[in-house]
Structure formats: C-alpha cells, structure tokens
Amino acid sequence: MKKLLSIILAAILIFTMAACTPSEEEPSDKTAEPTVKPVETTEPVEEDPILTGEKPELNILTWYTPYNMEEQPPYNVVEEITGYKINWFNLPLENSDDKLMLEVSGGSSYDLLMRINSQPANQLQVQNALMDIKLMLEKYGNNILSAVSDMALDSVTTEDGMIYGIPHEAFSGTGYGVMRGGIGFNTKYLDDLGMELPTNLDDFYTVLKAYTNKTDKPALTTVATGWVSYIMAGFGMGDAGWYEVDGEYLPRIKHPAMVDYLAFMQKLYKENLLDNDMPINTGATAIEKLTNGTVLAYPIMFWDIDSIYQAFDAVGMDAKIEVATHLAKDAETDPVIYVAQGVSYLTLVPKTAKNPEHAVNWFNTISDNDNFKEIYIGEEGVAHEVKDGAYYPLFPTFNDYNHADMYVGVNDAENAFQMWQARARKTDAMAEMYEQMNARADEYKVISYYEPYAASLEAVRNNQSALNTMVNDKLIQAIASGEDAQTVVDDIIEEWENTGGLDYETAMKEWYAANKDLFD
C-alpha cells in the first residue's frame, strides 16, 4: 500500500513539475523567407545585427481584443513583412490598467506594451518602469519619427529629454469624413409630417414638437446621457471637454452656453419631446424605440445602420434613416463640429524587455507607409481599390482586415484617416449613410481640439474621469427634474471645484498656454 501511495505522490510531483514549465509557443507554419521591406536607417554604414542578424521572437502585450490575434489574417501579413514572429498577449477587458501594472511590476518579459492608454502609460513612466527609447528611435525608428507629429512627440518626452513611448495619434480627419454620427430620423414619419430634415436647433424643435403633438409619443430618445453633442453643437459646444472662450480656457461645464443647453434639454424633456425614460435608457432599449416605431429620432453612428434596417424589416417598417448631423444654432449660423486630435494610445518598451532594439525595429517596419497600408487594408486591387482618391473595400478579401487596426504601427494621421474610410464603406448601407452624413461637411466649421494630448498630466489622470462622471450624472438628473438650469450649473461647478476640478483646471490652463501655439 505504501508503494501505491508513493506512486500517487510521484505522479502529482511530475504533474506539478510539468506545470512549472511555461508553455512553449508553437512554431509558425510559415516556412517561406520573410519579405522584409528595406528600412532606411540614418547610418547604414556598418552592418547592424539588429537589422541584418537573426530575428528573435517578440512578446507583445496589448489591449483587449475579442479575438485571438494570432488567428487573424493580418498576423501572417505582419510576420511576412517584418520577418519577426510575434507572440501576442492581451490584457483583460476589465481592470486592464491594474493588470498591466501587475504584469510589469511582476517582471513579465514583454518586449513591447502596445496601444496602452495614456494614463497607465504615464503611471508606468512615473514608476520608472519604461526604457528611454530616444536613441533607439534615432537609430531604428525613421518611419516612426516621420509619422509622429512634434506635438505628439513632445507629449511623451519628459523634462530631462527621455522619450518613454511611441504615440499613436488619433486620425479623425479635418474635412470630408469627420461626420460619423448624427440624429437619425425615420423618413416615413418625416414624410407623414410633411417636414424636412432639420439642420438647426429651431427647426429641430419644431419637427420634434410636431411629431409629439401628432402622436402623443416622445419624438426623440437617447441613452442615459447629459451630453448630446449633436444638440450641444447648436450652443457652440461638442465632444470637446475644453473651450477657449474670450481668451480663457474653460471646461465644458463652465462654458457660458451651458445653462442655455441644459434649459433646452429640460424643455424637450418636460414637453415629452425627449423620451422620459432617458435617465434609465440603455443603448439597446433606446434603439428599440427607434426601430419599433415609437420615436421619430435617435442619435446613431453610421455603422449602426445595417442593424437598424434589419430591425425595420422585422417590424415591417417601410422607412429609411436620414441623419441630422451636428445642428447649427439657427438658419443664419454656420454649423460647428469639434474633432478630437491627439494621442489615443502609446506603445512602450518596458525595462524588462529582452529585445528592445528589435521591438523598435519591428514597430518601425510596420510603420513604413507601404507596410502600414498593406497591413491595414491589404493589397490594392485585391482587398481594396482607390476611386477618385478615395479608398473602397473589395470583398471578400477585405473581410480579412476587419481587425487590422490592432496590428498597425503609426502613420501620418491624414493618410491613415483616408485608408480608414475604406472601412466606413464596408456595406452599401454604411457607405450610403457615411456619404449622407458628410454631404454637408463643407458647410461646417471644423474645430480641432487637442486636449487628448494632455491626458497624461497628473492632475488630468487623477480627476478627469471622476469629474466627467459626476457632471454627466448631475446633468441627467437635472434634465429630468427640471430644476432651474442656472442653479443646477452653479451647484455642479461648486462640486466640480471642491472635488479636484480646480487642480484639473490649473493643469489644463498651464498646458494650454504652453502648447497653444502648436495648434493649427
């Protein structure tokens, strides 16, 4: 019997030892020689082992993806282009920042931390967990340096000159294509009312009022939110959190038009033009009300359109959607749209990286203009085509590139934006909706805002999210309660100032003063 016990214990020990051996990555089935595109270096005089020597496998930790990155078609494209085999690791969806800190402080040997949010990236820098990549960029990062703007580079450069990350800049565009959403109107109901699609606040109110008077149903529904940027546009605001008003840089809650905006929303709510369930609406319940024919209008993004039409078919609604993009103040005023420019994510090299130079070299290769395009939207004539300077998808190959955004490096923001538009034309309905939204883009005054570049400031990191949530909650409450708008805004400002808003404001004002000249 003792023998039996020994056998069992030995078996457990063997199991445990086997468990202690980290799983080995399966070798790729790619046997073909990688077709490395030549990377221009600044000093190609001596043979550099990083550029010409053996290429190690790289471990890269990145943001959450709902798919296995190693099973997506762009995975092989990247490997063919760069010659590097990449082992991808993903942060979880929930508590990803905490998990990132744990991974880095635990000493896990990732060569790159790719597409990390500005706030945790900055925290890692403060904790001295990141390498200075300045010299590596000079040596291996010519594509990266030419793609990244000076302002973006400044935002990742510390006072003592250390560059702690590669900034991925948002590509939002500045002209045609900036409109991605608006208030979607049911065309059948508009026709029944005999009214046109509104373009300004006055017409908007008139159309909503007419529908509610006729049907006794709310005309507009939204998810639970205090900020409806398409309506805010009529008050000179939008998605931006900060505005320069009379030479002063102000948070949105202190914008002079804030009281008027709130009063307008309260009026819509009180007169039942705005769905009285708004404070408890989710995306699913709100879109239900549009598609089952309860309401006339609901804010949509252009990529929602296919599901909306599917739902219209299901309920037998013979209608289309037309979209009122950011509303103008009145018929005489030009409409305004605020478009975010700035750093969306950072790619970092942790101090525990085993192959930091190779990692930068790899990232530089995928940031090459041609390589970026090939990874992002595939080969021209096979996965996409160019018509009149605009990119269009070619199916079915383009489907392989659905998730390609996670594999690309950095590229000139305007170039990347043009390529991205191929995605906006993925289905006929989407393409049509995107075109319709942007049909009046010329009439708009497009104002770029740059506050995302300030996301890594300590006072912003510590306060921004909590303050935004507080203001949003209070606004929802105020829209429903109908309390005097001026009093509500004053109360919110008081709470804002008492809960970190002043620090946040000081930091933002200093940052704005220092960087204002760099803005277009």
């Binding site: 980290p22 799983s23 991808w88 739902a311 299901a314 955004d405 935004n468």
Partner: protein, 293 residues
C-alpha cells in the same frame, strides 16, 4: 387507515411562492434562449420576449464554429476535469486522516486549516507566486488556483466522521490497511458527499473568471467565463468617460446581441447536463455532511 392528506393554506402559499420563484428564475433564461434562436432584426427591435421570432439556428451554429469560443470551451473543460479530479484527491486525502480522533497533531493541523480558511494572501501575492513558479499563461495556473477548498474539506471530514466506526473496525480486523479501508470501505459509503463536493469543485472551476483575468494574457488559454464576460461587455472598451467613442474600429466590430445570447446558451449546457445526474446526491450530501452522528 390511510392518513388523509390535507392541503393547508400554508401549502397553497408555499406552492404559489415556489412557482413564482421558479418562474422568476427561468424567465430570464428563456429570454436569452429566445434571443439566441431569433433573427438579429427582431432582437434589435425588442420584439423577442420568451419565444423566438424569425426562428433560426444559424447563430448557434456560428457560435459553435467560432474558434475563440471553442478554444475557451476546451480550456474550461480541461481545467474543470483535471482540477476537479485533483481537488477531490487532495480533499479526500486531507479529510480522511483529519476525521480520525487519534491522529497525532490533529488539533494543530485543524487549526492551520481553519486559519487559512479565514485568512489568505490575496490576489497580488498569489500572482507573484504563480509568476515566480513560471505558471503564468499555463493551464496549470487555472487548475492550481482553485485546487483546494478548506470549506469543502471540512464537509467531507464531517461526513467521514459520521460513518459508523464499526465498519472500519471490521475492515481493519480483516487486515485492511488505512488506504485500503479508505478506498474500499469509506469512499463507497461516501458517494453522496463525494458527488456533492465534485459538483462544487466542478461548478467552481467552470464558473471561474478571476483566475483567467489574473494569470492569463494568452488568448488561446482564455477560459470560457472570461470569454463570456468579454463578449457581453465589449462596449466597455469603446467609450471614454464623457461617452465619446475612443475606439471606432472596435465600435464597428461589436458582436451582435443574438450571437452573444447564443454563446451564453451554449456555454451553460454542460452544467445543465451535469446537474440532474448529481442532484440526487446533492441534497443528501449537504445535510449529512453538516451533521455529525
């Protein structure tokens, strides 16, 4: 003379509330099942309640072909089987000696077990331990993180203590060793508690979400519950604190509601199948295990 069964008012109330609770429990599940078998259009329009509209099985078939789902399902199944077996082995081998009053140092060991039941190191030290053992991103991180529950061990120990000592004595008189007595006498008499605890461990492993979040960054090792959480909360990732969309490409690729529902339905099937088979042991195991004598 047969005793006449009387329906009291209490019985009626009892049945009413039990039915009500039953319905309250089953309706949300029926709703998810209905959505899984409905077309995407009726789901978006909110037409689906408890019966499918535009009935179709394509969504379920699509889920069953998704490599991410199948991979996560496989990982959870492997972890559940290996983990439960290992956990049962450790639990029984710890509970049996501790059920013997004449074990030397019994009080000391019991004290240690109670101590670790009440106090544990927490997530970060556990992470560092797994890291230093090179267990991160291995299936063993998922298995070993839930291998032993002191609470379950006490249930089994109490059950062992409740077995008549004379049966074991007779085995010993016939010359059986301690291990033989455990294998051939004690365990066959303990089927209810073993089934119950196996179910506890099995469900625990199957439903384990945190271990995946803590120890796994490799997509191919993601357990099912993490996959499910991610799928149902994808939208978390795309909005910033003001509700602006910060990741347009992700926003454009969100999974449809009926695919999500189908995934949830398919992933609950194994536990649904397991429960009825173990249920007959379940109640008995819990009640007997908790009472000594």
């Amino acid at each position: 003379m047969a005793i006449k069964q009387k329906f009291t008012f209490f019985d009626i109330i009892n049945i009413f509330f039990l039915c009500l609770f039953g319905v309250v429990t089953i309706l949300p599940f029926m709703h998810v099942i209905a959505k899984a078998f409905s077309g995407e259009g009726p789901v978006i329009a909110g037409l689906v309640n408890f019966l499918p509209k535009q009935f179709q099985v394509d969504t379920v078939l699509y889920v069953l072909q998704r490599s991410e789902f199948l991979g996560a399902f496989r990982i959870s199944a492997i972890v559940t089987v290996i983990g439960s077996a290992l956990a049962m082995f450790l639990t029984v081998t710890a509970a049996y000696p501790l059920s013997k009053p004449n074990l030397i140092g019994r009080k000391f060991f019991l004290y240690i077990f109670v101590f670790i039941m009440l106090f544990n190191a927490g997530m970060v030290p556990n992470y560092l331990l797994f890291n230093s053992l090179d267990l991160l991103n291995t299936i063993w991180a998922l298995v070993l993180s839930g291998t032993f529950s002191v609470f379950n061990m006490f249930i089994v120990k109490n059950y062992f203590e409740s077995l008549p000592e004379s049966v074991e004595e007779s085995a010993r008189i016939d010359g059986a060793s301690g291990i033989k007595t455990l294998l051939y006498v004690v365990l066959p008499m303990s089927k209810p508690v073993l089934a119950t605890i196996t179910l506890f461990y099995g469900v625990g492993y199957w439903n384990n979400y945190m271990s995946g979040v803590l120890y796994i960054t490799k997509a191919s090792l993601k357990p099912l519950q993490q996959y499910l959480f991610d799928l149902t909360n994808e939208a978390l990732n795309i909005m910033d604190s003001t509700g602006n969309i910060k990741n347009i490409d992700s926003a454009m690729n969100l999974t449809g509601e009926s695919v999500r529902s189908a995934t949830i339905v398919v992933s609950t099937v194994p536990i649904l199948i397991l429960y009825p088979f173990l249920q007959k042991y379940f109640v008995k195991g819990i009640t007997i295990g908790s009472v000594k004598g």
